[in-house]
Subunit: 322 residues, 2 copies
């Protein structure tokens, strides 16, 4: 008889909800407070380890009159949502390389409710990212390094980047499948590489998957099996384009009794069904097509807001003829 | 540097489209000929190996005035769809144990356009299924044995069933995740067991996945990796409840140049977007809930046709309180 390891759970696993942060890429972070508060409270109730409420976006690049509060995450806005009550759930924000005035906008930890800064970087921005990681760590935060668009990164450049990032104070190295193109074997391959660099440094490895091929959840499971302990997910899979690993599926899978699936189901019922009528995300055919051709989903996002949104064949031919 | 086996393909892999057969469980197989013909022609153009157009349902159980033609698959109806042209695509039908008057309704192969009979059986119907397999094989058909609802079958009963089925003339033993509850590790476990019994018999192993946990495609890939060569899929994932492994995702993954993804995208654009407005299937929350509790999806299907269709929490509590 074979063993059945899946009836147990791994206590080291921590879940980060990035519903507002990644979902805000759909609508310029123009969420009302009611929704943001509902997401936050749901995550606290559901036992989620981190909630990523938004970006530390540079106001010169992202004008406050065009973007919602969660593009900048000022302390006053954060305090309105997170309240004063004690909670196990930590607050995370994302800082994009070259899109964050980090020296100014990221305050010393003792002046902020934020616990963790996640530095997102493309391969060509690594030196900037390294400086951002040091800056945030020096200011007292837990810091992660999120290496984006991995499917567009050459193997030797990845190894170089991992070598550099493993020397920084980042406590987690995150595999980011921005284009949503990876299959399980590839996730296994990346997980092994990342874990190799993390070994002996005390760093953890994380996974942020997109759902273009309906594999965000499956790839997150695959990463878990390989030893990845930091998992990104979003309520009802909200996120740019095809969206992310649905939190409700992930909690249904994780057997740690600290998690509470029911709270997430209630939030979907009360808020996300309606939200999904107002803004679009999910495994739609154009996102399968961009993933099929290993492209950023932006062309598919544009298509979906045009009058040709369901002209899949023409969209497919655009890439296959290229 | 690690190897990248996924750039190649395995020529032994064959794909079966069961859009009309499994999709018909949503609407009593009341599809019009235009749609059935579109699915069939699409599959021929897309290089699909088998098209399963429906059931050989007993007319005493499924009255012809209440069910569409694809519940019975009379020869005249089939001929209207499949035409006279030469094609590589074979015709399959499903015969459910105890729901098929197989001695009468399955004609000798030389009187039929059908190539393959798939015998679907629950664990308690194995003796009937064995007789059906022999009957269909004697009549000249390729035959498969589809063991349904595996997540509700005890290990020792499964081993007994596989022992019996591997002694029949069935050329394929199909893993059927009727409740859509399996994760990749479990699929690996089942694939190994099935393959062990198939070894040396010349039989293949197949997979039929449901999408309750957004894992139908991922589990099909996992089965492929383990050595499973017969794959079920449906256009746009159509199928009862949460639906099946989407054919368009599967073709995007399979690298055999005989397959044509574009034809399937065109069929979705021309037919399935509209069909999805008329009848419902897909990864909706109630199907996650039944899978979470390892239940048949029928309660979720009932919920979706009631005025409480979005009351996820009450539905969840119904099971968690049980």
């Amino acid at each position: 008889m074979n063993k059945a390891p899946w009836v147990s759970y791994r206590p080291e696993i921590k879940v980060l909800d990035c519903s507002i942060r990644d979902g805000g890429l759909i609508n310029n972070h123009l969420f009302d407070d009611k929704l943001v508060k509902a997401v936050f409270d749901t995550c606290v109730e559901a036992g989620i380890d981190y909630v990523e409420v938004g970006y530390k976006g540079d106001k010169k690049i992202f004008a406050p009159d065009k973007f919602g509060a969660w593009k900048h995450c000022n302390e006053d806005d954060l305090k309105r949502i997170v309240g004063e009550e004690e909670r196990a759930t930590k607050i995370s924000v994302m800082a994009d390389a070259e899109k964050t005035d980090y020296k100014r906008d990221i305050l010393p930890k003792d002046q902020s409710v934020i616990d963790q800064i996640r530095v997102a970087t493309y391969i060509h921005q690594i030196p900037t990212a390294v400086d951002m990681i040091k800056d945030a760590s020096d200011k007292g935060y837990e810091v992660t390094a999120n290496l984006m668009a991995l499917s567009a990164v050459k193997d030797n450049e990845l190894l170089e980047a991992l070598d550099i990032l493993s020397d920084t104070p980042a406590s987690t190295l995150v595999i980011v499948d921005s284009f949503g193109v990876f299959y399980s074997e590839q996730i296994r391959d990346y997980a092994k590489r990342f874990l190799k660099f993390a070994k002996g440094t005390g760093k953890e490895v994380g996974i942020h998957a997109h759902n273009n091929l309906q594999l965000a959840f499956a790839n997150t499971i695959e990463a878990i099996i390989c030893g990845v302990n930091r998992l990104d997910a979003t309520i009802y899979g909200i996120g740019r384009g095809a969206g992310n690993c649905p939190l409700e599926l992930l909690l249904s899978f994780l057997r740690n009794p600290k998690f509470n699936l029911r709270a997430v189901l209630k939030c979907i019922q009360d808020h996300f069904l309606e939200l999904r009528q107002e803004i679009e995300w999910g495994c739609l055919i154009p996102y399968l097509i961009t993933a099929h051709f290993n492209q950023h989903p932006r062309a598919a996002i544009e298509l979906r807001s045009s009058d040709k949104k369901d002209n899949f064949v023409e969209f497919y031919d655009r890439w296959s003829d290229a």
